[in-house]
Point group: C2
Chain length 127, copies 2
């Protein structure tokens, strides 16, 4: 698998995108409003930072309330998300999403519960 992106929770995606563009020369690759979030993808080689700004109450706004801004999850790209979920299930990993669902940028996604994966919120993504 390949690191598709690092998800970052923020109160202001536009300001953070501007800062990261300046500091890291990372251009905006895609932006959209999705699932109550403003989502901005910044390009780092063949991976991305995914900036997540809540526009309404939800998991990211609750994360920000509890933890403040920062790294929210890591997404791994797979060519077969169903097989990746089956492997996780076979190893007793608790799944947040039993089946793939539509994610940002038109990709299929599914999250694993961090209590099964060393405290790391892992997202599988299939383009």
């Amino acid at each position: 698998m390949h690191i598709d992106h690092v998800g970052i929770a923020t109160e202001d995606a536009a300001a953070l995108a501007d800062l990261y563009a300046d500091l890291f020369d990372a251009p905006v690759a895609h932006e959209e409003e999705f699932d109550g979030l403003r989502v901005v993808f910044l390009e780092f080689g063949d991976s991305y930072f995914e900036l997540l700004e809540p526009l309404e109450d939800g998991t990211v706004s609750r994360y920000l309330d509890a933890n403040g801004p920062g790294i929210h999850h890591v997404a791994l790209e797979t060519g077969d998300i169903e097989a990746a979920l089956d492997t996780a299930r076979d190893h007793g990993v608790e799944l947040i999403d039993d089946d793939p669902r539509p994610g940002a940028w038109g990709h299929d996604v599914a999250f694993l519960h961090p209590k099964s994966t060393g405290g790391v919120l892992i997202e599988f993504v299939e383009h």
Copy 2:
């Protein structure tokens, strides 16, 4: 820049490496004891997970005490770490390391303070 690795704080790097090898087909690329840490790099395409297990008191053990296991930092690879630090300095970013220092795997590294970078602990790394 390119996402070199995602740093993950853990109490047991060997067990987490085994789990991630099973779940994500991520082989061990390098391991060493460095700076009071057991460090294990797992390969994900041309990026890595860097598992960090404290062997003595230090920043990672304090992170674990405060936050539990999970994502600790993101490292960006640059071909010119001095220039990257100069750019950060020019933008008023607080630096944890004013100058590059030797990091794991023989690389030069320098960290930026997360209060200047949206709550994200960023490491610059030059191979």
